[in-house]
């Protein structure tokens, strides 16, 4: 009954297609890029080819990886705090309609205000540069988790709620055994969106903080390389940013899949669907 679908690491045709088709496109585009750069003789300070970028990535791995670590730390911490606070606030909303009605508009304001616009203020107000980066990344990562989890907590099957009422379940039991499990897929979907957003928030804040800050994340490397016209290094840093974003997304997708695969439609293989 509970066998895994045979899709692990692309054992099926569908799996291989999913893996190889995008890979093939990527290789083709990179090859074309390299070819044009060489054929046209475009100088590296205008557009470096993929080979040069890869070489720079290896050569400058020391400072780049140090910067990556800084950005990653801010991103992960911001995501953790966003997840914790988002979940906690959503639970509070689910317990009290008044609290939800009074606080939700402010959460929306927090979400719709462009982070680029408020980042300078936060950086001025908060002395500690790492803390200000953290706050910026948190602001953008917070809302999707809060909003998704709130919807999830309110999506409880009303018959199941009646059942819990019939058995005189306490508020706590309803929350813990019914509302939170119902909200789980919603929370995880929010987390996946917020993972990418936290990274963007951290990068944007680093850009705004500029080279003046003591922290030296990936955005700082990009700015610095731009000033020094070290365009290959700029691209290398950019590659790292994208790779980090992809890695975060994949990690959170995997976590979501592992948590939901036994029961939720979204995490089921095609063959398993009834």
């Amino acid at each position: 009954m509970m066998e895994e679908a045979p899709t692990r690491l692309g054992l099926t045709v569908e799996g291989w297609t999913r893996l190889l088709a995008p890979l093939l496109i990527g290789v083709a585009v990179l090859g074309l890029w390299e070819g044009i750069v060489r054929w046209k003789g475009i100088p590296p300070y205008v557009l470096p080819g993929p080979v040069l970028i890869a070489e720079t990535l290896v050569k400058d791995w020391g400072p780049l990886s140090a910067s990556l670590l800084v950005t990653l730390k801010v991103t992960a911490l911001a995501l953790l705090i966003a997840a914790t606070l988002g979940l906690a606030l959503a639970v509070l909303f689910a317990q009290s309609r008044v609290v939800e009605l009074s606080l939700f508009p402010y959460a929306v304001i927090l979400q719709v205000t462009p982070i680029v616009a408020i980042a300078p203020l936060i950086i001025i107000w908060v002395d500690d540069i790492t803390l200000s980066l953290l706050i910026c990344a948190w602001i953008v990562a917070f809302f999707p988790i809060l909003s998704n989890t709130t919807v999830g907590l309110n999506s409880t099957d009303h018959n199941l709620l009646d059942l819990f009422r019939l058995y005189r379940a306490s508020r706590w039991q309803v929350l813990w055994r019914l509302r939170l499990p119902t909200a789980m897929p919603f929370f995880l979907a929010g987390l996946r969106i917020s993972g990418g957003l936290a990274l963007i928030g951290a990068i944007v804040a680093e850009f705004v903080a500029g080279t003046g800050g003591s922290a030296s994340g990936l955005a700082y490397r990009i700015l610095e390389a731009g000033f020094q016209l070290q365009i290959p290094r700029m691209f290398a840093a950019l590659v790292l940013v994208s790779a980090t974003g992809i890695a975060i997304f994949l990690a959170l997708s995997l976590a979501s899949h592992l948590l939901l695969r036994r029961w939720h439609e979204s995490a089921m293989g095609r063959g398993e669907r009834r």
Partner: protein
């Protein structure tokens, strides 16, 4: 009254009415005695308030007027089991955890609750499916889990709201028979809501026929056939005659609405 009431009443409804906030009168002046150990069917067209009536007996909906009383003592919630039209299982929990839920909500230690739940699953012929998640089970099996969950607390009253309406006929017949077997062995009281004349006659000792707008009971008919009832009864002339009688009562109820 009828043979089902030779025993004392487990629940009595006196002049019960329900008016919704919108002003709609869902139920009007319903009086009914639910005999202990009996099998009562509430039969009526959709919109006649039979589900509302069931939820009232369960204490999930409060009547606007009238009284629901339990002569033998207060309506302890653990004395009621409820089966919804849908299996209404928690998709994130195994069959065992779903059945153990009522016991665990009442504070029973997990190990004991799961042992009882496993025994109950075996009673509904789902031994070996303890660790299965609802989505891995067929519609009929899910309904069995739902029945096991309702019975795991050993309730005195089992309330069922069109539980088999969504199942295919073969599965429904099997579940009908299994339900009757369980009822014969455990001697709990059943109130079974249905819109099927044939199902109500096959299962019940007594049928309360309801009319809609406003919902009310228009007739109470005893079904005298002895238990155990099986496929022989389902195809007998006596069964056909009873179905005809109940059909006519239902028709009269529908006509009363139109008048």
């Amino acid at each position: 009254m009828d043979q089902g009431d030779s025993a004392r009443a487990l629940v009595t409804l006196a002049g019960v009415a329900k008016r919704y906030a919108t002003g709609t009168l869902a139920l009007r002046d319903v009086s009914l005695a639910i005999g202990e150990g009996g099998f009562l069917a509430l039969l009526g067209p959709s919109g006649c308030g039979k589900s509302t009536l069931l939820r009232m007996i369960a204490g999930l909906v409060a009547p606007s007027q009238g009284d629901i009383s339990w002569p033998g003592g207060a309506a302890a919630s653990r004395d009621i089991g409820f089966v919804f039209q849908e299996p209404t299982l928690m998709p994130w929990a195994t069959a065992l955890a779903n059945v153990a839920l009522p016991l665990e909500l009442a504070g029973m230690p997990r190990r004991e609750a799961e042992a009882r739940a496993a025994a109950m699953l075996a009673r509904v012929e789902l031994k070996g499916f303890e660790k299965a998640y609802p989505r891995a089970l067929s519609g009929g099996m899910r309904m069995r889990v739902s029945i096991a969950r309702a019975l795991v607390t050993r309730p005195r009253l089992l309330l069922m709201d069109e539980p088999f309406a969504a199942l295919d006929e073969i599965t429904r017949f099997r579940l009908n028979n299994d339900l009757l077997d369980l009822w014969q062995e455990e001697r709990f009281t059943v109130v079974f809501v249905t819109h099927s004349v044939f199902e109500s006659v096959y299962l019940a000792q007594r049928i309360a026929v309801m009319a809609a707008r406003p919902g009310r009971i228009t007739a109470e008919l005893p079904i005298g056939a002895p238990y155990p009832r099986g496929e022989v009864f389902r195809t007998s002339a006596a069964y056909a005659a009873q179905c005809r009688e109940v059909s006519l009562a239902l028709e009269a109820a529908m006509a009363a609405r139109a008048a």
